[in-house]
Structure formats: structure tokens, C-alpha cells
Symmetry: C2
Subunit: 466 residues, 2 copies
Amino acid sequence: MRDLARLIADLGDVAVVTDPAKVQLKSRDFYWYSPVLKRQLEQVCADLVVEARGEAEVVRTLRACYRHDVPVTVRGGGSGNYGQAMPLEGGVVLDLSRMDGIVDVGLGRVRAQAGARLFRIDQACQAHSQQELRFHPSTSRMGTVGGFVAGGSSGVGSITHGALRDRGNILGARVVTMEEEPRVLELRGDAIQQVNHAYGTNGVITEVEMPLAPAYPWIDLMVGFSEFMDAVRFSDALARQDGLVKKPISPLAAPIPELYFRPLRSRIPPGSNVVLLMIAEPWLELFHDFLRSWPGTVLLERAASDPKRKALPIFELSWNHTTLHALRIDPRVTYLQVLYPPPAQVELIERMHRKFGEEVMIHAEFVRFDGQIACFGLPIVRFLSENRLDAIIEFHEENGCPIFNPHAFTLEEGGMKQVDHTHLAFKREADPQGLLNPGKMIGWDNPDYDGMSRQSYLYKSLEGFR
Amino acid sequence: MRDLARLIADLGDVAVVTDPAKVQLKSRDFYWYSPVLKRQLEQVCADLVVEARGEAEVVRTLRACYRHDVPVTVRGGGSGNYGQAMPLEGGVVLDLSRMDGIVDVGLGRVRAQAGARLFRIDQACQAHSQQELRFHPSTSRMGTVGGFVAGGSSGVGSITHGALRDRGNILGARVVTMEEEPRVLELRGDAIQQVNHAYGTNGVITEVEMPLAPAYPWIDLMVGFSEFMDAVRFSDALARQDGLVKKPISPLAAPIPELYFRPLRSRIPPGSNVVLLMIAEPWLELFHDFLRSWPGTVLLERAASDPKRKALPIFELSWNHTTLHALRIDPRVTYLQVLYPPPAQVELIERMHRKFGEEVMIHAEFVRFDGQIACFGLPIVRFLSENRLDAIIEFHEENGCPIFNPHAFTLEEGGMKQVDHTHLAFKREADPQGLLNPGKMIGWDNPDYDGMSRQSYLYKSLEGFR
């Protein structure tokens, strides 16, 4: 048995939450996006929550938890949707959302505490020098920068700058180790990859340094097309316009917009396929000239941030928010994560669209990927059965479109289906007892894991919820 | 006979230069880069030079020249190297270099008079808001923004933003027409393409609005490789690093650096192939991590603009400056302009390198081109004979590498070898008498011109210099 009383005593004046309702709330993220994760993780709950107010309290917490052999799962805004912040073995949820300071802003970079929300960082950088983060998830209002680095990958702006894993999209990370006497490390350069997208399994990120881009006045746009493939070809061509500043480029097949985009329903004619866009104001007239040669109709055009109006930003219909809007209207749908690999993305989307029609309603996001235009997919799937879902996944993979499983909570299954040896080696050094976010890194429990075997993996403590 | 006395009288207090030495000087650009142009254009000279101090004087000059049927050739810094500012039929050279005001700077854009030198615009935008032009030719110190729009195409920074012809790389242009009563037009959006890279044949650009990028502190780098193809593969891989901010990426085959880069000779070991680079300071340490996996050695690394030192900026060894340094040392060499089309650029460069060795010393420039990484070449050629040069060109074209002839002064021959009907239609409207820069647009004299016929074209007034 864990001696929580002695742990709490060791924590001294560090803020501890033990109220069961609050602890349960802070033990959850948006895992319920997936019906599979909802079933598997519903019972997951921490023993207590620690609300750290600074790096010294993080160090104190990790030292105490190490001494008492209590696992620690770090949490930011809790807007992840793969259960990455959920404490599979209970123990402590370490909530960093009070560590939300902006440390420093310079030309091209910002340094912030891990718990700073992404939109707050943007506001601070705009006020300082008309800059903003290069890209962000659609959960910018809720998500923290530490959570984004620990559990995100790409987002609104990736059409220009690529993904977090691309060199230069994270400049530095300050990390506390889980040892008898925790160390505070500043990881820079390629060393950052040791903790990037590791779900906090191998160190607690307390501060990050991120690159910035110019904060132009952005225009939100929604363009309607009667043919979905016209919307996709338009998106692909726009993605190639190196001179136009834009983010995101999100084509969505009918009937996604009319069924699920309640806030904009009056603007969406029945049968519309749409492309969601943001264009920087200096390039807006050239965008309209570009649009002229396509069979698209502007359904919405407005300043992205009009302080007098509280309209939904267009990016809150894109990326993972598309699925959220669908789930709100129809909890029976589910989704997948696909890569339509370059340079055949348009052809592959067409093949999937023809094959599945409205059963797999395509939602794509154009990004830059290894210096090329590429396309991720987050299709909304009308869920019929697990067998049928498997058949859909199989058809994608047979046609060269890898699926990143959004119905799995481990790093490996949701990612490249293989052990990340950089993450694993760093965990051996920084978390020798395996106390950080246990169960999320298969490679720690089974270094010989081979995800290509198609055997699904389930962490041992969750066997009962399979 | 032209009645120049009456023309001068009509010009009133507009500044006119008639001193023959000065007129000859202002009738020339860097045409002598090409031995062919040197032979063809050596005798070209204006009758007089007008130094306009503002748009009203441009209008007055064009009105007077129209009345007296005198051709007008516009000139900025005179740093073009295809004779684009040389008055084939004499008449007036209209020098706009006194019209050098910065009209307005905003977030993402600058408006300047046509005669403003590119580096002066950068200085003003840096002082205003840490911004700079997206890309510039290597002649940034001498070239004007109007000359760049009228006669340039891409340059230092095109690896991120593409070329001038890409939508969004010119935001607006103010143009005076050559009519009985000249009109002043503001061209915006796609209408800008009517005068972009038209050598001033169809209107006089008096003001332009250009997009801006952040002005990071840049680091100049020269990286040495013992194998040229390693330098090329490194360059191609770096070009694909979407998260690293860089400009230019210029691989140069040995013995270009050791033979021709006199200012850096002490840093260049014999046999070095080099890559010239600029990396924005916030991404420098990540660049070094990237370099670690390549067999490259840093031969030079220093701040691009140390105000205390007057060192040559690295970009003044790249693009057309490479050829300039070679010609200074060995006037017998010449050069070509090649496109190594994507996605096979690395393989095509290797094929050319193996075929010709040191006879065609490869100098490449990585750029973004239609949303893809692509590669231009400006190889230095050891000139043996015109037949041999033709054979070299033929081998390139047979292998799918188009040559943009730098030994031609017409828009068509130096470009796509076909009439640009957008340029031509605008000339019919804006210069109905064909008085602007006569002889540079083949399509005006012969709308049926077909450059694919491989028949070389020579403007009629120059027959004697063939």
C-alpha cells in the first residue's frame, strides 16, 4: 500500500487536492473522443492531485514521490484526447496549469512555463512584438504549451512550418528528472527530441522555448464546393502557393459541414463540401484572385479576431475540433487518423472517398512534411462494428495510407507502431524506477515490442477493461 | 531625325544629362557578363538621360517622348545582366534612381518608390519593425526594387518564399503608361503580372508594394565537403527542414571556391566543394545538430551584419555574384542558367557533374518552386567554342534540364522561349506606339514567334552586331 499520508507530509506547503470529485476531474482528459478509450480508461483515477506553483515545487513533488514509490502523471490543460494525461496506476496527477508565466520574448522566440496556455502566449507575443506561435492545436484556448510539446504533433500553421518533430519547432525544454535527487536539465538542439511527444513518461517539462512567426491580422474563410474533389484539388494547389501566407487548409466532405457545424449552419447550403482557411490580411486580395479560377464560393469571410464579437474562430472547426463538433451532434460517430502520403495525397483521398462515400466522411489537413506538401486525414466514421472499422483501416493500409490509431493510449500504438529508442534511453536515465506516467510507453515494459505484428497491446493494469 | 532639342524644351525643369560619357555609362548594365551580349550590345547608347525626381516628372517625360516619338528605356541601379536596361534604339534612358523614397511600412508590407535600393528598404524596415524583404538578388546593395520587379525573378530567400512570379511576392505596382496623355495605374492582385519581369517594355513602374518577412539576425556560413555530391545532398536535405529558417542554400563544386573566391581564399582548403548558407540566429544550434550527421566542415561562421566589420556578406558570393567573382579572375569563363526540375534535382545535378566535370563547374541554388523544393543552376563554364557550348546546352535539354539563356537580351529567349500574352496585351494598351524599351519583347515585333524552333532571334536594329 502507498503511504499517501507520509507523502502529503513530505510535500509540506505544496498545494494538494484530495477531494474525490476534483481528483477524478483532474484524472481525465478528452479520452472519451474514442469509444475504445472511453471503455478502457473510465475507471482511471489518481490518488491525489498536486498543483505546483513553480519548478521548486515540481522538484519537491518528484523527490517525495520517488521516496514513497508513488507514480506521477503530468497534466496541463487536459485537452489531449488519447488519455495521455490519465494516471493508469493512480498515484499523483501533477497539474502544471498554475505555472503559466511568460518568461521572455525575443525576435523569433518565446520562453514560457509549461502550464501557460497557448492563446495566452500568443497574446503576450502579439503585445510584445506582433509575433505568435508558429502553429498550435485547435485547442489553443485550453491547451498548455507543455502539454502541446509533451503530447501534440502539428496543427494550425503546420502548412508553413511542419510539425513539432521537425528540427527548429522547439528551441529548448527545461526538464526535471524522477530520481532520488531530481535534476533540472536544459535540453537544447536535438536533445529536445528525448522528451518531445513522450507524454511526460521520461521527465517533467517545466519550461519550453518555442519559435515564433509574425502575427498578421488573419482572415477566417470558409469556401464551399459542390464537388469534394474540387475542394481537395483547390486545397492542394493553395498549399503550393509559396507566396501566400495561410493556415490551416482543411477540406471537409459533405455532409460534415451541414450536419455538425451548428454555429455556422445558416451559411452552409445543403450538400456543401467546404475548405476552412485562414489567410493573412496582406495576401487576401491575391487569395481572391487565386480562388477565381476554382469553382468555389466564399461562404464566410471575417476577421479572425474581432474583439467586439465572440464568434467561433474558424480554427475551432478544424483539426481535432471537427471531431468534437461531430461527437456533440452524433455520439455514435468515431474517427481515424490517416496519412495520405505525398506526392499522391490527392489521388489517395479520391480513392478513399470513392470507396467509402459518406461512411467515411473525409476531413483532411494539409501540412508541410519533410519539405513536401502532404496531407493528414481525420475522417469522421459512421461506426457500424469493430469488424467494419478494422476493414476500413485495412483498406487504408493496403492502399499505402498509414493509420495512426486514435483509439490507443500508448505512444507506440498511436504513433509509428515501434519503440522510440531515444525516448526509452532517456527514460532509463531520467526515470529509472519507471514512475512517470506508467503504462504509456510500451517499450519500457517490453523493449522487444513489435507493433507491426498487429497484436493489440493493453497495459497490464488495464486487463480488466479490455 | 529625332528633334531632341524640342524634346528637351518640353521637359522643362526635368533634369536631363547629355554629357556623352555620362550618357554612355547610364546606357549600360552588367550585359558584359555574357560574351555574346558584350559583342551585340557594346555600341548601344541613349541620346540623353532623364533623371526623374518624382512621378509627375515621369509623366511629363513620357508625355514629351510620346509627342516626339522618342523611345524610353527605364533604368534603376543598372545591375541587371541581360541588357534589360540598355536602349537598343537610343532615345531616352529614364533613370529612376533618384526616386528612392520609402512610402510606408506596415506589418508584412512595405511601399517604396521604384528607385529605392533593396538594402535601403531592408534597413528602413528593420528600423521600423524588425522586418525585411522576403528575398533579394545578390545585387541588393546596387539594385533597386523597381528594377528587381521589372527584371529579376528570385534570389536570396527564395528557398522559403519562391519567386517574384509566385502570387503574393509582389503586392502592388504603380505604373505610368506611354500614351499621348499618360495614365497612372495602380495594379494589384494578379494584374501585377502584366508588368512583372517585363523589362519596362509595357509601362514605367514608379512605386511598388512588397511583402516582408521577419528580419532575424542572420549568420553567414560556408560549409566545406570533399565530395561535391555530399554538398548537394546536404543542401537538398537542409532545404527540406521546414522548421529551420535559412537563406540561401548554394552548393558550389570545386574548384569554384578556391579559384574565384579571393576574399575568402585563406579559409578554403584545396579541392573544397562548399555550400554557402545563411541561418537565422535562433535556429543556429539546431542547424549545427543537423550538420553533425553530414561529412561537412564549417569553414566560415560569422554574423552577417557586424557593423564594425566590412566583410563581404556571404550572399555576395551566391546567385549571379558567383559568376561575377569568376569573371574577375578569369574573363574566359562563361555561364549558363539551368533548371534541374523537381523531384529529380539531385540525380540530374549528379548526371551533369559526372558528364562534364570541371568543364561545367556546378553552382546550384535551392529554391521553393510551385510548393516543391527545386534547384536552379548557374554553372561556370570553361568556354572552348560556341559549338561546344551548344553541345553542353543540348545535353542538358536532352536530359530534361531546361536552359534559360543568359546570353540573350529578349524576354522570351532568356525566359520560357514563348510570347507572354499577358505582357503583350498590356503593352498594346499601355504603349500603343511601342516606344518603351524597344527590341526586348519579341512578341511585339513578331506575335507568331516560336522560340522552340531553336532559331536564334536578333532584334532588327542590331543585325550589324550579330
